[in-house]
Amino acid sequence: MKKKNILLRYPSFTIFAVLAVLVILVSVFAPVICGDRSPTAGNLAEAIEKPSAEHLFGTDKMGRDVFARVIYGSRASLSSTFILVAVIFVIGTVLGVVSGYFGGAVDAIIMRIADMMMAFPGLVLAIAVAGILGASTRNAIIAIAIVSWPKYARLARSLVMKIRHMDFVAAATVTGSKTPYMLLRYMLPNTITTLVITAATDIGGMMMELAALSFLGFGAQPPTPEWGSMLNEGRNFMQSAPWMMIFPGLAIFVTVVIFNMLGDGLRDILDPRTE
């Protein structure tokens, strides 16, 4: 008996989709959740207080409420991760499809550049790029995008190459289909499913890489609340205020788990070949 409702047929996907929406809602409605607790304005008289009813996650060295900072921090982490994944998805797909479809010199140039990017160990180049461009969220996104697009480009290229010489493509060309039409109507749809799966499963990993860069001080700058940079601030207060690094870390962990599960669930739905 097959359940018609797609949400009921894949319970794991549904649960994590709901949780993911919840996380996004939390970041959107952060002001409502935190009420009058500000993520940036602190009261030095209340610095480094243990978690209590008033400050659920305690306070940091400037007397700011850690709970509010964690909740508001979801904004920076989520938005920058989504932008990053969108950027590498678009750049990688476009370059990969173009490379696979046209072949020849275009293909050679794009793929050699991709090879070179892949010859660098990912985070090493990202750290160097972020450091040289200067520390900011935007530059952290650029840095990781530079090292991450080749994976998508290679995938898109190989998928296009698979269908490039099939009869229906030749037929379409013979009947006078223009190049842009070919690319949009035939090549892109054939790559999109696999690439969407890849992007969905990558969200968690990208979030961790961005957090790693912020942790090193190459991402979001204080006083903006961001989980990675909060961990960096909390590091110096490990002995006196462990809550300063426990809660932002947990926030990253929980969010990454949710998005990883969501990605896996999506893969199971769209790509039934994997177990």
Binding site: R112, I113, D115, M116, A119, F120, P121, G122, L123, V124, L125, A126, I127, A128, V129, A130, G131, I132, L133, G134, G204, M208, A211, A212, F215, L216, G217, F218, L231, G234, R235, M238, Q239, P242, M245, I246, G249, I252, F253, V256, V257, N260
Partner: protein, 312 residues
């Protein structure tokens, strides 16, 4: 790998190497700040325009791009990577001093990772869909979702701050200093690798020769360790080579957390002080190390897979 293929591979490597060097040079060439001004600022001096102009001419920063690149490359080939202006020492000396600690850390965490993930992965594949498989899968799932720098911080909190078993700062380079950084790196990598071992072994387990061997009454243990495991080594070695890449990047974060005197830690401090030559040297060295390791992986196929030797 025949001599011809090896030659081709080396040629390919040379091309990528040239690309890497151009890219590394571009990194600082295109950097928004003026290196001379930053150099003065790093030394705590407020430079005037004239000084900057003279220094720029002296350092050849006004020459065309290709001239600058050519000069830089010839110097690099001679082993001269410039002088770090934040530490006032040749870049080579600084990098060499930090090279061994980083390699030691990488090696140690690699061994730890193999010790953890190979048995777990095989176990989970053999007992597929049994309780033990579910446990391993759940643990590895959480393992891949936890940022390694947070693991490191929590380990410090537990073992150094609460239990006071190990030193907080791993600057000595002794074995004791190596434990926590290596464990931190190994945890994140083991989770990923255990899954890959499981997949590789499962794939082999479902092949026809296993069914055949079972039908002939060959013992399970003999099939597993005599046939299945050696056959699944090939993809595992490839993945090991790839994971070295993430390891080399990952060490920098972990080195910073533990104040471990490695290459990554050096690079991060170089970046905060705009020490361009040092950054260039670091990126170039690490990517060369990565390339060499991948070459070794390629060559090792020869010994693992006899089919490779027959192929021309």
């Amino acid at each position: 790998m025949s001599a011809k293929r090896l030659g081709f591979r080396l040629l390919q490597m040379l091309i990528v190497l040239i690309g890497i060097s151009i890219l590394t040079f571009l990194l600082t060439y295109l950097s928004p700040g003026d290196p001379v001004r930053n150099m003065y600022l790093a030394q705590g001096v407020m430079p005037d325009e004239e000084q900057v102009a003279i220094q720029r001419e002296e350092m050849g920063l006004n020459d065309p791009f290709l001239v600058q690149y050519g000069r830089w490359l010839t110097n690099c080939l001679k082993g001269d990577f410039g002088k770090s202006y934040s530490m006032n020492k040749p870049v080579v000396t600084l990098l060499l001093a930090r090279l061994w600690p980083t390699l030691k850390l990488a090696l140690m965490s690699m061994i730890l990772m193999l010790v953890i993930s190979v048995p777990l992965g095989v176990l989970s594949a053999v007992y597929k869909d049994k309780p033990i498989d579910y446990i391993v899968r759940a643990v590895t799932f959480f393992g891949v979702s936890v940022p390694n720098f947070w693991v490191g911080l929590m380990l410090i909190l537990i073992f150094c701050v609460q239990l006071k078993l190990l030193p907080v700062v791993s600057s000595g380079g002794s074995f004791k200093d190596l434990i926590l950084p290596a464990v931190t790196l190994a945890i994140a990598m083991s989770a990923k690798y255990t899954r890959q071992v499981r997949t590789a072994v499962l794939e082999e387990l479902s092949s026809d020769y296993v069914v055949g061997a079972r039908a002939r009454g060959v013992k399970e243990g003999k099939i597993l360790w005599g046939n299945v495991f050696p056959n699944s080594l090939l993809p595992l070695i490839t993945m090991l080579g790839i994971s070295v890449g993430s390891l080399l990047g990952g060490t920098s974060v972990v080195e910073v957390i533990f104040s471990y005197p490695g290459l990554g830690n050096l690079a991060v401090s170089a970046i905060t002080s705009y020490d361009y030559y040092l950054i260039q040297g670091y990126v170039l060295w690490v990517s060369i190390i990565y390339m060499v390791i991948n070459l070794i992986v390629d060559i090792s196929y020869n010994y693992v897979d006899p089919r490779m030797r027959l192929r021309r």
